[in-house]
Symmetry: C2
Amino acid sequence: MTEKSVYNYRKSAEIFERALKVIPSGIYGHQGPAEGCFVPVTAFPFFSERAKGAYFWDVDGNRFIDYMCAYGPNVLGYNDDEIDEAAAKQREKGDCITTPSRVMVDFAELLVDTVASADWAFFAKNGGDATTLAIMTARAHTHRKKIVFFKGYYHGVAPWTQKIDYPGVLPEDVANSLYVPWNDYEKLAETFAQNKGEIAAIISQPYWHGNFADNILPADGFWQKVRKLCVDSGTVLIIDDVRTGFRLDVAGSDHFFGFEADLICFCKALANGYNVSALCGKDFLKNTVSGLSYTGSYWLSAVPFAAGIACIEKMKRLDLPRLLDEKGKGLLHGLVETARRRGFDLHVSGMPALFYIRIADDDVNGSPSLMLHQRWIAEMVKRGVYVTNHHNHFLNYALNADDIKTTIQVADEAFAAL
Amino acid sequence: MTEKSVYNYRKSAEIFERALKVIPSGIYGHQGPAEGCFVPVTAFPFFSERAKGAYFWDVDGNRFIDYMCAYGPNVLGYNDDEIDEAAAKQREKGDCITTPSRVMVDFAELLVDTVASADWAFFAKNGGDATTLAIMTARAHTHRKKIVFFKGYYHGVAPWTQKIDYPGVLPEDVANSLYVPWNDYEKLAETFAQNKGEIAAIISQPYWHGNFADNILPADGFWQKVRKLCVDSGTVLIIDDVRTGFRLDVAGSDHFFGFEADLICFCKALANGYNVSALCGKDFLKNTVSGLSYTGSYWLSAVPFAAGIACIEKMKRLDLPRLLDEKGKGLLHGLVETARRRGFDLHVSGMPALFYIRIADDDVNGSPSLMLHQRWIAEMVKRGVYVTNHHNHFLNYALNADDIKTTIQVADEAFAAL
């Protein structure tokens, strides 16, 4: 591929000009220029036109092999026929109706059958609806206030989970938040000792995946010790599986790491992009959840339930986590080898299905500057491989061996372009 | 209709038994037995099978003329062909994709063109996402903490909007909440004087519609005085139009009552049931919103945007608020007359498109006991007219003159059965 074939984003830029007039910051969230702006924004397409399988096409007609998967929801491939058919069948009957549809019960039963730590399921729309319900449940059950977070966490955008210096957040919102370094059991135990009888919950992702940083798996025995500490202290253990859920283990990422959460939050991969999230949990918390005031306009919508049933059944049938792990390992092996041949040290972290990568040759005083890495990411995107410089990636079932081969070829060209 | 033709809910009850095992309280929200339980739950169907136009059918095959409209989202009729076609066309292209689709910008432009107080739009999933973003925006903009609510409000389920004695809610969550009686401008001005320079926002529905109580329209000049007070005090005026939005005025319910909000929250009728909400606002707050950390997994989903565009265009083309007002007036006239003929005093409040009704003959010491009313509601539902005893109702475009006639006939039978 020559420089001439590198993508341009003329129409994206035009639409973005319109967007800036009627939408705060034009685009919000990860895709907005405010985030990930270490990469020249000109390397990225702003608006998509369509998507299918492992690809999306932007408004300029450029095709991308997509390693972000809408930041998670695309787990089986965009517009998966089987999921879309199940959803369409339900849509013909009805979606958002005054009383819930029977598929809500079917979906809850399937989750209880599938997720090891689930005795029940409660459905909502955002991952943050599930994490907020989890926090409220823990506080209502324990009659305690304090919540332990692992530094570098992300559990949505509700005020209680934001940082004290973020705009719009009050000191009161985070007055009961305790922060502990990831994998540091000693510090955690110390924090529990210092706040004896006051900690309602620990909330954590199954492993650490902050932005702009190597991802970190749990240390050996870490979760088992945390689990025991929670039992001994009467503290509710909440796993935020919104990002990782179903990509590591269809029975839950807690199950993957050999323990059981009290409450576990799902979203993203739950229904292949249909809009639904879930909080699942243990029986001992069911009555507490029943007593909370918690609902939303679209939370009974039946179409996402039908899509979720089809999605989970297909993921189970495929043994999807194993397939994604294989795809990820093949891809990462190829990328690391290609980097090595071109004289670069590509550092890989996290699980293969949600890999984080970083060119490690741009460290300044032992810390990644990420400058060289960002340039490489930009060269990848401009050649049709959508990766990001700040976040873990996501694999989907539709990604095939040819896509991985193409990705490695593009990576080679992108290294050459540095 | 004889007693024999009164509905039974055998299958609903069976499915509810299953639901109780895997879902906290079986069904949550308004449809759950925990709420509205003043009515014998046996009068209501628990689960729907399908819906079309103004009707839904439950799992036992009973048909209902539906005056709850999924608590608002069904504004044009269930499975409206025009909206569903627009949504299906977008779904073929793609829904939840890594980068937003161009329809997001089209939708924002349409809202800005349609809603009088909107200079920009920000999309999310729940009404509560919009109200929470509004509160955070007001606090970030004013660098103040306090929020004024009108007693009997509902703005979602986030902890900041719940009550101090609700389970899972901390005193810290509501430490900056001030409560003023609805329509009481003197008390409001007094509250402002007592909290000079400290009130970030007033948040309010356009008129008062609490549960189990007659709805109350704004007093003459109330909103204009409130608007001026906010300007004079540097306080952000937030209108929660989640419930009322587009049923009173497609330009916003603030426009309907002759003032302009600084921030206005939409959900429900925004896309005829497709899952999307929006915060719209004035230019002077746009940069503040841009600086907040606020996003969600499905917030860029394109299908609800396409549905929203079609829904708003159709509502505008139809001049829907006028039609709903006419339907509501016809219905309410018939119900009140029928009640009178049967010797009952049916009290009507709120706007016709969102009417609240109550049999006023069961007052005890001057306050409604609602006991007779609840029995009447139960008789209505068992005869195929879905109304509730605790909440305002919602009209939709598909409701026709025959449905209204049938409703009035059923009402007559239900009065007779008391």
